[in-house]
């Protein structure tokens, strides 16, 4: 549609309406037969010039405050255009900027009404997915924008990463394609893109159009609209390359799908087609043994648990955002999200018990941990066989069958009794296992075979499977191998027996004969496994010996096809250095507020200089190198160097305008790694800024509600709320405090710094001590105080030092009040007295812990050990505290897990704001215990206060120094 009739009408909007009505009606009719194909408002077909005229026409009428009833369609197209072009998270601001006066004259709901009308009259798309429930209005124009420009690069990358998984079935069924892609999209750094992918129908349609559309009439999008998207996408070279390669793959998949019906591909030498679905063992860990100076140690290699996160949606947030305990591994639990890094090798100091799950997500719902226990487990039984593949390294042989002349290590829970002289006891450092070295004789006679049987081992049959040509991603040297999806495994099958026949089957298909005689004197056959889907497939061979008296030989190879790993720009453990974050996909705010930790691993001592850049859409707001530091950079060191960035005046000024942050590390020899974090796309968000030194809070409201309830809490009286009003889109509040907004089910809080014009203002502001009102000593009051702390802790904090200091003062006040509420007045006095002295008087605190003999004993030992505890990491401190309290736990008959209770107590005592998120489950029982036995919290507070007093670190984000919780 390149020309229109708008010019003939005195009101161009009516002209556009007529033109668009005609166009959309025709389009709707043409796609009516395809139930999967909705019409999108972006498919208006207007040229660039006509789009400019449309924008002008709509803006003119909006300014006048009236849209004729018979001219709503141009506004729908206009709204879709705004959705297509806007970046960041401020849809309504972008709308208002393009059509000034909208907020004043129109109701947001009106736009939804018009889009609903569009959907019913022309077969228009309807928003879907969870995000459409939260963003009930802007979900319409954004859905009709098809693929907003700033999300295009993310979709191109997703299609590229997913290209090897594409099937002809998916390309023919966009819903299926959308669902599959959405499962992979949750690792994207863009929160907006993650939300976009929740509408799997739209995602599938757009993806199918992009993959299949070029040069052909797309079934899912008007060619002109598709061309426009591709043209915009091509502005970024890398995105175009990703799309090109994904399309090439889609094309080949489609062609192969078509040719499949004409007969088997490739050789005519014989083909066995699979019958059944693959058995899935993708999420089981690999097991190794490695020899060190003290003997053998068991090592596990973490599997790719994203397969679980993909299959069970509820698992993803648990795996991404919680810590994970590895049974038997010494040290702290794996940091949040770290369990999703496949291929990590962990040494087990203790072999897990029979009943113990190998992995346990901390404080996750029971169902999540049950799934993890079911899908990620060591081989069952009480004996494990490892084939020694090189000196000092053994790989587990799950089939527990040995071959003549090979060397093995057997690990058993029990003592093994054997007289065989080829079995020798070996040293094992992993407790709970006994190790035996086996050097299998070159000939396995009946005696050897019997001895092996007594040990619980079998003898491998006279058939050998070996990968050839392409080294597989993993090979246990015996019966299991792993390839990446898209590869076609080549397998050699050999036997020394003279054969009459040989049959192969895959995944339970009917056995087909293959020729194991013709191609080599060693009775070798080479086979290629084609088009295997993700999962574990069983290749089964049946050999019929020439000698009729000999039994049939059966052999099996487990062929696992898995997704590729390590696509992250933040590096891979296979490379010379890499960066890890906890949680796995942190937001900008989480990194800024130190709620996400960053670590960089690589060769020790190598200097690096990370560069941090804040961006607003594509513009660089500020970019600085951090001070030079040396690998490895652990969380504490990262915090130290990152603080130098945060402290810079320019950074503090620009932070609130930023919508993304990248951390880049470039090294001449090690390469480049990068991590990107974006602001969370939320229905409500505060931006804190200053206008002529007057602090203000600006609300980004993407909800359906124009009426928003606002409350403010002063720094002086946290927890005491008063209503306030918004002036335009911002609130100015010179005293500063916490401002919260609620609209429907959505809420958001931000911290407005106090206005400081003079030194007196500064002094007053820093001297003012917050006072929290506390009610009766009830569990509900403890939880209320935790929530209050949480609200202040998670509020948007500007890059303003005073705001941060005031926030920390409030957090500390809440923690102190909570301690006084639980610990009682005497304890509260003891805390005040103890903290008046320098250094803090641990003795004064110990004296107030309790009067009972056991309580005094606990207090004494804590006083004595407090300085030692302060020197430990937080995790080790928790473990030691649990050990020191064990007697007290026994006396109190604590039924909850004691390590968990210890951490609960220390978190409650040091960081009540973070407690509820950590708990996951209802904390009422633990709170009840604390109120019944206040000695526990007093003991924890003693440790918290002494540690804070002895810790030199300067992090200001936590109420107590030395208590930065993972």
């Amino acid at each position: 549609m390149t020309s229109g009739t708008a010019g003939a009408d005195p009101d161009p909007l009516r002209g556009f309406h007529v033109e668009l009505d005609e166009h959309f009606r025709a389009l709707g009719e043409s796609v009516r037969s395809n139930a999967l194909r909705p019409v999108f408002a972006l498919e208006h077909g207007l040229s660039e010039q006509r789009r400019a005229e449309l924008r002008h026409a709509v803006a003119t009428r909006v300014r006048l405050g009236s849209i004729p009833k018979d001219a709503w369609l141009p506004v729908v197209a206009f709204a879709a255009e705004i959705g297509y072009g806007y970046v960041g998270d401020e849809y309504w601001d972008s709308f208002e900027a393009a059509a000034p006066g909208w907020h004043r004259h129109f109701d947001r709901g009106q736009l939804r009404t018009w889009f609903e009308k569009f959907a019913s009259e022309y077969g228009g798309a309807r928003p879907g997915g969870a995000w459409a429930e939260w963003f009930t209005i802007i979900a319409w124009p954004i859905t009709h924008a098809v693929l907003p420009t700033d999300l295009q690069v993310h979709l191109a990358r997703l299609l590229y990463d997913y290209r090897h998984h594409l099937t002809a079935g998916m390309l023919a069924a966009p819903d299926l394609l959308g669902e599959s892609l959405a499962m992979r999209a949750s690792d994207s750094s863009s929160s907006r893109f993650r939300k976009f992918t929740e509408n799997t129908t739209l995602l599938g349609q757009v993806a199918a159009a992009l993959l299949l559309g070029e040069g052909t009439e797309s079934a899912f999008l008007l060619p002109a609209t598709l061309d426009r998207v591709v043209e915009d996408l091509a502005r970024e070279r890398q995105a175009l390359r990703w799309l090109t390669e994904a399309k090439a793959r889609a094309k080949s998949v489609r062609l192969r799908g078509l040719s499949r019906s004409t007969g088997p591909r490739g050789s005519t030498m014989g083909r066995v087609e699979s019958a059944g679905a693959p058995v899935d063992r993708l999420s089981d860990p690999r097991c190794y043994v490695r020899k060190g100076d003290d003997g053998w140690s068991a090592i596990i290699e973490l599997p790719d648990l994203s397969v679980l996160a993909t299959r069970f949606q509820m698992m993803r947030p648990e795996l991404q955002r919680r810590r994970c305990v590895v049974a038997g591994a010494a040290g702290a639990p794996l940091a949040r999200g770290r369990v999703l890094l496949p291929g990590q090798r962990l040494r087990l100091d203790r072999w897990p018990n029979y009943s113990e799950a190998l992995l346990k997500i901390e404080n996750a719902p029971a169902a999540a941990n049950e799934l993890l226990a079911d899908y990620c487990r060591l081989s069952a039984g009480s004996l494990w066989l490892f084939r020694i593949t090189e000196p000092g390294l053994g790989v587990e042989v799950r089939g527990r069958a040995v071959r003549a002349g090979h060397e093995y290590l057997v690990c058993s829970r029990h003592e093994l009794e054997t007289a065989a002289d080829w079995v020798h006891r070996a040293d094992m450092t992993t407790s709970g296992l006994r190790a035996y070295s086996l050097v299998i004789p070159d000939v396995i006679g009946p005696e050897t075979s019997a001895a092996l049987g007594e040990l619980g081992l079998g003898v491998a049959t006279d058939i050998t499977f070996e990968p050839v040509g392409l080294v597989p991603a993993l090979w246990d040297g015996e019966g299991a191998a792993e390839w990446v999806i898209g590869e076609e495994p080549l397998i050699s099958i050999t036997t020394t027996k003279a054969l009459r026949a040989c049959f192969l089957s895959i995944d339970g298909s009917s056995p087909e004969p293959i020729d194991l005689l013709a191609h080599s004197p060693q009775h070798q056959a080479l086979v290629c496994l084609t088009d295997l889907g993700s999962g574990t497939h069983e290749l089964h061979a049946t050999l019929v010996p020439l000698d009729e008296d000999e039994p049939v030989i059966e052999g099996r190879l487990d062929v696992t096809i898995r997704n590729p790993r390590d696509r992250a720009t933040s590096g891979s453990y296979r490379s010379a250095f890499f960066m890890l974050s906890s949680p796995a996909v942190p937001s900008l705010s989480e990194i800024w507020d130190d709620r996400a930790s960053i670590e960089i691993f690589g060769p020790a001592g190598i200097p690096v200089r990370p560069k941090v850049t804040l961006r607003n859409s594509d513009s660089v707001l500020v970019s600085h190198h951090l001070p030079r530091t040396e690998l490895p950079v652990l969380a504490g060191e990262w915090r130290r160097v990152f603080e130098t960035f945060q402290r810079q005046h320019e950074v503090r000024q620009r932070f609130d305008d930023a919508d993304s942050m990248t951390i880049d590390i470039a090294h001449d020899d090690l390469g480049c790694i990068s991590l990107r974090a974006e602001r969370e796309f939320t229905p409500l968000r505060w931006i804190i800024g200053r206008n002529r030194n007057v602090p203000y809070a600006r609300l980004i409201n993407n909800t359906a509600y124009e009426e928003v309830t606002l409350h403010i809490q002063d720094f002086a009286t946290p927890g005491t709320t008063q209503q306030c009003t918004i002036n335009g889109d911002r609130v100015e509040y010179p005293a500063g405090g916490l401002i919260s907004a609620t609209a429907g089910r959505s809420s958001a809080a931000g911290i407005i710094p106090p206005q400081v014009d003079t030194l007196d203002d500064l002094r007053r502001s820093t001297r003012e001590h917050p006072r929290v009102h506390v009610n009766a000593r009830e569990p509900s009051e403890v939880i209320r105080l935790c929530r209050l702390s949480q609200q202040w802790m998670t509020a948007t904090v500007p890059g303003d030092i005073i705001a941060r200091q005031r926030q920390v003062a409030v957090l500390r006040e809440v923690a102190d009040r909570l301690s006084a509420l639980v610990g009682g007045q005497s304890w509260a006095r003891a805390e005040i007295d103890a903290t008046r002295t320098r250094p803090l008087s641990a003795r004064r605190l110990a004296a107030a812990v309790g009067n009972q003999p056991d309580q005094r004993a606990l207090a004494e030992v804590l006083e004595r050990r407090a300085a030692d505890l302060a020197a430990l990491s937080v995790d080790k401190r928790v473990a030691d505290f649990a050990s020191l309290c064990s007697q007290t736990f026994r006396w109190l008959r604590v039924e909850l897990d004691r390590d968990w209770v210890s951490e609960f107590l220390l978190r409650l005592a040091s960081d009540p704001g973070g407690l509820l998120a950590w708990c996951g489950n209802d904390p009422t029982e633990a709170v009840g215990l604390v109120l019944q036995a206040p000695v526990l919290l007093r003991a924890a507070r003693l440790v918290v206060l002494v540690t804070a007093d002895l810790t030199a670190e300067t992090d200001v984000a936590t109420p107590y120094r030395g208590w930065t919780w993972e």
Binding site: M269, R290, V468, T494, V527, L529, P564, R574, A576
Partner: protein, 362 residues
């Protein structure tokens, strides 16, 4: 999905094609195919040891080609070349569960532009992911361990390669080499450091590089210490697990007195690079410099150069840039074909930094 039976030729062709090479042009006897197999295998196995990497490749070739000592030797040389070139990095293991000692890691995806416009591709992506797409890969030429995008193959190669996430390595960095010095100065520096070491006591599995032996037969110079050995030696010492460590050792009647592990320079230097240069200095200092042989047929615009001693990675990188590696010729450890116009400048560089003597091929 299904199973297709193949003969050896077809199976080889499937594997070669999967490596991104032309099965009509190469098979598994070709160093290009072996280098590609090593790279692909490393992409799944790193961090790993050279021994384990080579063993995995050898195992995978059983049934597709003859497995013999030549294959193992070729693979060993190729791994050394891949390390020097930058496809692999040899570093001390930095994760406890990866074991101790040196490990191979994947080199970062990068490219170096020659002045001629040819671009060398360097690095390995994890998980068998190719460095560039199949479409662009069709333009990439393979010569032994080197992958190059010929001049004019694509417009704006730097921009295209950057879009694949490859970072440009400057010629300055690629050419980075140790400063010039006199051989005796270098030797004295290491001797001084060695003198500061405490008594080493006996050292298990010590082998020394015999300075008295013919400099043009590198492998023949290695042996166990003998009773008559006294003085300063480049050496290697065994470890319980992993490759032997490079070191310098002070011997008294065949017994180690002091020992200094290499490397001693800061950064990511390899022990072998320091050891090879130090041995070149020792040889030059005693009047028997290492030998480089050149073969320039009259009027030819290309020459062939044979190195009889191993090259430190900084020197190999330089030659990889200006010359083309060849299958090593008789009596050589490494052979290159180089445009004759470049020959004098490059030989002068080797003579300056490694104090080598140049002689025509016999």
């Amino acid at each position: 999905m299904g199973v297709i039976q193949l003969d050896h030729a077809a199976a080889t062709a499937v594997a070669i094609e999967a490596l991104g090479l032309d099965p009509q042009a190469v098979d598994f006897d070709a160093p290009e195919a072996l280098a590609a197999t090593l790279r692909r295998t490393a992409s799944f196995m790193c961090p790993t040891t050279t021994g384990r990497l080579i063993r995995a490749v050898v195992d995978s070739l059983a049934g597709l080609r003859v497995i013999d000592a030549d294959l193992r030797e070729t693979l060993d040389e190729l791994v050394a070349s891949l390390i020097a070139y930058g496809d692999l990095l040899e570093l001390e293991a930095y994760a406890e569960a990866s074991g101790t000692g040196s490990r191979l890691y994947l080199g970062p995806p990068a490219f170096v532009a020659r002045e001629s416009g040819t671009v060398l591709l360097v690095g390995i992506r994890p998980e068998g992911e190719p460095l560039v797409s199949e479409e662009l890969g069709a333009f990439v030429s393979n010569e032994r361990h080197i992958r190059a995008l010929p001049a004019g193959a694509v417009d704006d190669p730097a921009g295209v390669l950057a879009s694949y996430g490859l970072t440009q390595t400057t010629l300055e960095h690629w050419h980075r080499a140790p400063a010039m010095c006199q051989p005796e100065v270098l030797v004295r520096g290491y001797q001084n450091r060695l003198d500061q070491q405490r008594s080493s006591g006996s050292v298990d599995g010590l082998t020394v590089l015999d300075g008295e032996q013919d400099v043009s037969y590198y492998r023949g110079r290695w042996r166990s210490p003998k009773h008559r050995d006294s003085g300063f030696y480049v050496a290697r010492r065994a470890r319980a697990f992993g490759a032997p460590l490079w070191c310098v050792v002070d011997l008294a009647e065949g017994e180690p007195v002091r020992l200094l592990d290499l490397p001693i320079l800061q950064g990511l230097n390899r022990g072998c690079d320091e050891a090879w240069r130090l041995q070149a200095a020792i040889d030059a200092d005693r009047g028997a410099p290492q030998i480089i042989r050149t073969d320039t047929p009259s009027g030819a615009d290309v020459s062939v150069v044979d190195f009889t001693a191993p090259l430190p990675s900084w020197l190999q990188r330089r030659w990889d840039l200006v010359a083309t590696p060849l299958v090593r010729r008789r009596g050589a450890l490494l052979s290159y074909r180089i445009p004759t116009v470049e020959l004098d400048e490059e030989l002068a560089f080797v003579k300056e930094r490694m104090w080598a003597a140049v002689e025509p091929t016999r």
